[in-house]
């Protein structure tokens, strides 16, 4: 699964990020160096406030670094303008958020369609929803779906464009463990079947056992990167 020989998708060097939140300056990242490899499933593990979401947002082109360099293949994301970042997100990145962020006024199918309509060679919304086991709930609105179902719609929406990378920010954070496992299974299946490079953020150590590599973060720094020798499949996890 891993190895120096694998193609490098992301290369981050000395990434720092400072937020001005109201009257407070928050140092979210303090110099991150990291590579992500094609097709791997990596977990970014850390307590809340460790900077993992910020890192993911920067990798996904949702935010830009204050300093440092982030390369997606040859594209420098730190120097990309808004249009370039928009194109990058549109064609290469799939996102899954902790709070689903579905559009409340659209059905499951339409929530996926909103992405497939602007993507190159996407899955159909039905295929994508089938992949996460929601083929039967196509025409339900978010308000009519359980939390786990909503999150799976969000995953379907994220993978429908066949992204090069799938970035998941605490995808089970708002779910009970049983439902969480179902969601992780869906992510695992996507990673396996579509070969999508997948990065999952969590503060849950148990979940990191499904990853090939585990990146530990604390206070905006990577403390160490762990190769996971005893990789478990999602349905074996519990917390």
């Amino acid at each position: 699964m891993t190895g120096v020989a694998a193609e490098i998708v992301f290369r981050a060097r000395g990434v720092t990020k400072v937020y001005e939140m109201g009257e407070v300056r928050v140092h979210a990242l303090r110099g991150i160096d990291l590579e992500l490899y094609a097709g791997e499933l990596v977990v970014l593990l850390g307590a809340s406030g460790s900077g993992k979401s910020t890192l993911l947002n920067i990798l996904g082109g949702l935010d830009t670094a204050t300093a440092g360099e982030v390369l997606y293949h040859d594209q420098d994301l730190t120097r990309a303008d808004d249009d370039a970042l928009t194109r990058y997100r549109r064609h290469y990145v799939g996102f899954v958020f902790q709070f689903y962020n579905l559009i409340p006024s659209l059905t499951a199918r339409e929530n996926v369609a909103i992405v497939t309509e602007i993507a190159r060679a996407p899955l159909t919304p039905e295929e994508a929803l089938g992949l996460v086991g929601l083929g039967q709930r196509l025409d339900h609105f978010p308000a009519q779906l359980s939390g786990g179902e909503q999150q799976r719609v969000a995953i379907a929406r994220a993978i429908a464009k066949r992204p090069a990378v799938l970035l998941c920010d605490e995808p089970t954070g708002a779910l009970d463990s049983e439902t969480g496992v179902v969601v992780l299974e869906a992510l695992e299946r996507v990673n396996r079947e579509l070969g999508t490079t997948t990065a999952i953020i969590t503060h849950n150590v148990a979940q990191s056992e499904m990853a090939g590599r585990i990146v530990h973060l604390r206070d905006g720094l990577i403390t160490h990167i762990e190769q996971n020798a005893q990789r478990k499949s999602a349905h074996e996890l519990s917390w």
């Binding site: 949702l62 958020f97 709070f99 559009i103 006024s105 339409e110 909103i114 309509e117």
Partner: protein, 787 residues
């Protein structure tokens, strides 16, 4: 349909309450604009057509008596294209079943044919025929007022002899669109009318056989009116010419032009303000709506939607609302305009109203509405997409609140927590609160502006009839008469007081400016007919010099102490320098006044009077009227009371409809702003309010926090709206000043009260609706979703 479009439809459905409120604001603005502008355009178009089709003359001249041969000399004046001579004469009339004084103007027409100029638009019957002496055609308004038609009869005192006239036709005429009796302020079709009679009959009755006393003519293309008038005056002077005038100064045309000017003022200014307010509100509401969707915008950006397509999405959302409002408003406006047009038509008496959809007007309304809404979208979307999607998707950082100035002053113990929440929220979002206040205030201002008209009108009537002109009857003689006639009048039944007046036609000159009018001579100690100052206090007519109305002084650019050149245009035809010794306030018409003896000295006519004002016992009025009608020298009798009642009635009818519609629209706007502000506040703060409910606050208590804020804003807006309304009214007054009307800026307390009540009412309705929503707040649902 794309998923984004489906979102649009569902979002629209979800916010239907707000969408409808916005739609109504736009509808009100556009409807006002379209109706008033199209009616005005239609009236102007129809008038021009009418003038052209019925050959309304370009110039007119009156003369005492000119022999027929003079016609050829006039027709030969270079620049005159067509010319027609006529005989006209004032007449007093008796209409069966109507006991009050009725006056008329007899105008000659060729027997059996249309006149060459100022043709008749026959509405019923036929023209007068040759050889039938007593046939007349009546003006339509006059005929309608008395229920007269072809075959009916009326009695006239023609040159001192009573004659029975037979009506053969009813007609309209471009020369007498508005039939205003000289000395009166408004048309009063029951008491004054124009009557067309065969030329030979009229010539015979007034000893005018082979002669004429009135001329109308049209100009050849490119001819100079001033030169033509000068030559006509020169030719007619030996025969008692009273000065030729251009169309501009022709009484009916002048009156209608002035009316159209004030109508144009109203139809431009008022709807423009309305539309501007609607656009402004649309802008505020739209930008807030979009601000609420900040997180969804973040998600769309995260998926790779560009700023342009996100902007387009919201632009569509808003345009659907704005353009539906504009479309409905246009339809309503065209329909209302049609009704308004009918109303004007009964007043102005054009034969037809050329009412049509005026494309530029509709396009302007739609562009303005769309532009305002798009601007709102642009601002809001720009603000939303400027954030990186990661931040947009995160809830906005907790807003920085702080203790308000009042609290920092140590007064916080006076306020409970909810009240502090209201105050801090207002202080933190002061810019937005200000916009809401301005929005509500503008609807209040529209109300004040719409309602102040009737205040102004009441004031004019009070000043004109309550203070300045207190006579019951004004009697005019056929020509200036010796003062002995006054004793005769005083001896008539019921007459208690007689006050003479003199009117001398003059041309006033100052530097290059000039103005043709009649100087009214009043006795120094006038008791019935007085001139007044700005405070409505009567002023004594100075023994020497000229008194001008403020408007006339303004037109001539003179002040007290300046010396005018006065050319008398009858009798002696002297030219004298006269100093302006005082100014007087007068709200209708422009005039000049002199002391009676001084005016007679100027005219060189001895102690003559042109007529008299009478005050008398109302119980004897009927007998008095009959006695006056039978005096050969009496040309006209104006009854002041009746004239006022008639005016009030017609004005009130049109004013009421206008005010009603305006109030309704302004209420809609007030409702639109308050409701939308409250709804948006609710959706921004539902979490906060739900949390309070969870903590044990009652529905009433959380309603207090939200609605209390709206109440504060509404109460702040009302005085501001009154001030803005007063300003707008001042602007409107300035745009409405014409030579005919000088509307004073009068704002009665009742107007402010009514405006405030309507705004408060609209606020109350929105509060009730929002309160219902608050009562159904889904506590768990709100708290379950993410922060």
């Amino acid at each position: 349909m794309t998923a984004l479009d489906r979102k649009l439809l569902r979002d629209l459905w979800g916010m239907r309450g707000q969408a409808i409120a916005i739609l109504f604001v736009v509808l009100a603005g556009v409807a006002t604009y379209v109706s008033m502008r199209s009616v005005f355009a239609a009236l102007q178009r129809s008038l021009d057509q009418y003038y052209q089709e019925y050959r309304f003359a370009d110039g007119f001249a009156s003369v005492r008596r000119a022999p027929g041969q003079v016609r050829a000399r006039l027709a030969a004046v270079p620049g005159i294209a067509r010319l027609e001579t006529r005989v006209t004469a004032p007449v007093t009339l008796e209409v069966r079943g109507f006991d009050e004084p009725v006056s008329g103007l007899l105008v000659s027409v060729p027997e059996g044919a249309q006149p060459d100029l100022n043709r008749l638009a026959l509405r019923a019957g036929r023209l007068v025929q040759a050889g039938r002496e007593a046939e007349v055609v009546l003006n339509e308004t006059f005929a309608e007022a008395h229920g007269l038609g072809p075959g009916d009869q009326l009695t006239a005192t023609v040159n001192g002899r009573r004659r029975v006239l037979t009506v053969v036709g009813v007609a309209l005429n471009p020369e007498h669109l508005l039939q205003i009796q000289p000395g009166s302020l408004f048309p009063d079709p029951e008491r004054y009318g124009v009557i067309w009679m065969g030329r030979s009959t009229l010539e015979a009755a007034y000893d005018m056989t082979g002669a004429f006393n009135d001329v109308a003519f049209t100009l050849a293309p490119g001819a100079s009116l001033a030169e033509v008038l000068q030559r006509v005056d020169l030719i007619l002077a030996p025969y008692g010419g009273q000065g030729a005038i251009g169309r501009r100064d022709q009484p009916s045309h002048f009156a209608i032009t002035e009316e159209f000017r004030s109508l144009e003022g109203t139809s431009t200014m008022l709807p423009a303000i309305f539309l501007a307010v609607a656009a402004f509100l649309l802008n505020i509401v739209v930008s807030r709506l979009i601000a609420l969707q900040r997180e969804q915008i973040g998600v769309l950006k995260a998926f790779g939607y560009g700023n342009l397509s996100i902007g387009a999405h919201y632009a569509k959302l808003v345009l659907v609302i704005a353009l539906s409002g504009a479309a409905l408003g246009t339809a309503l406006g065209l329909w209302l305009g049609g009704l308004l047009g009918e109303m004007y038509l009964t007043y102005y008496r054009l034969p037809t109203l050329d009412y049509a959809i005026d494309v530029p007007i509709v396009v302007t309304a739609i562009l303005l509405t769309a532009g305002a809404s798009l601007l709102g979208v642009l601002q809001a979307v720009r603000r939303a997409v400027r954030l990186s999607p990661a931040i947009a998707m995160r809830a906005a950082p907790p807003p920085t609140y702080r203790a308000t100035a009042l609290e920092r002053l140590g007064l916080q113990r006076l306020f409970d927590q909810p009240t502090r929440m209201i105050m801090r929220n207002l202080e933190r979002q002061w810019a937005r609160a200000l916009l809401t206040v301005v929005g509500i205030a503008s609807s209040c201002a529209i109300l004040v502006m719409g309602l102040f008209f009737s205040d102004s009108f009441d004031f004019i009537l009070h000043a004109q009839y309550g203070v300045a002109q207190r006579e019951d009857l004004a009697v005019t003689f056929i020509e200036p008469t010796s003062t002995a006639a006054l004793y005769e009048l005083a001896s008539l039944p019921g007459v208690q007081h007689v006050e003479p007046f003199r009117a001398v036609p003059v041309r006033l000159r100052y530097q290059h400016r000039r103005y043709d009018t009649a100087v009214q001579g009043l006795p120094e100690d006038a008791y019935l007919h007085r001139i007044i100052d700005r405070e409505l206090l009567p002023i004594t007519v100075p023994a020497e010099g000229l008194v001008l109305t403020e408007r006339l002084a303004q037109v001539l650019a003179v002040g007290v102490g300046d010396e005018l050149t006065v050319e008398v245009r009858e009798g002696s035809r002297r030219t004298r320098p006269i100093t302006v010794t005082a100014l007087t306030s007068q709200f209708v018409g422009m005039a000049a006044y002199m002391e009676l003896t001084a005016l007679n000295r100027l005219a060189g006519s001895g102690q003559a009077v042109s007529g008299a004002y009478l005050m008398g016992d109302l119980r004897a009025e009927r007998a008095l009227t009959r006695a006056l009608q039978q005096r050969p020298r009496v040309a006209s009798i104006i009854s002041q009371d009746r004239a006022i009642a008639a005016v009030m009635e017609s004005i009130e009818r049109s004013m009421l409809a206008f005010t009603y519609i305006l109030s309704l629209f302004a209420a809609v706007i007030a409702f639109g702003v308050i409701y939308n502000s409250a709804r948006i506040a609710l959706s921004e703060r539902d979490r906060e309010l739900a949390s309070l409910r969870v903590l044990g606050f009652t529905r009433g208590e959380i309603a207090y926090i939200l609605l209390g804020e709206m109440a504060v804003l509404t109460l702040l807006a009302i005085p501001l709206g009154m001030a803005l309304g007063a300003l707008a009214a001042a602007g409107l007054v300035a745009s409405l000043q014409t030579d005919m009307y000088q509307f004073p800026l009068v704002l009665a307390r009742g107007t402010f009260g009514l405006a405030a009540s309507i705004v408060l009412g609209a606020g109350l309705v929105s509060a009730l609706i929002v309160r219902r929503r608050l009562d159904r707040l889904d506590l768990v649902g709100v708290l379950k979703t993410r922060e």
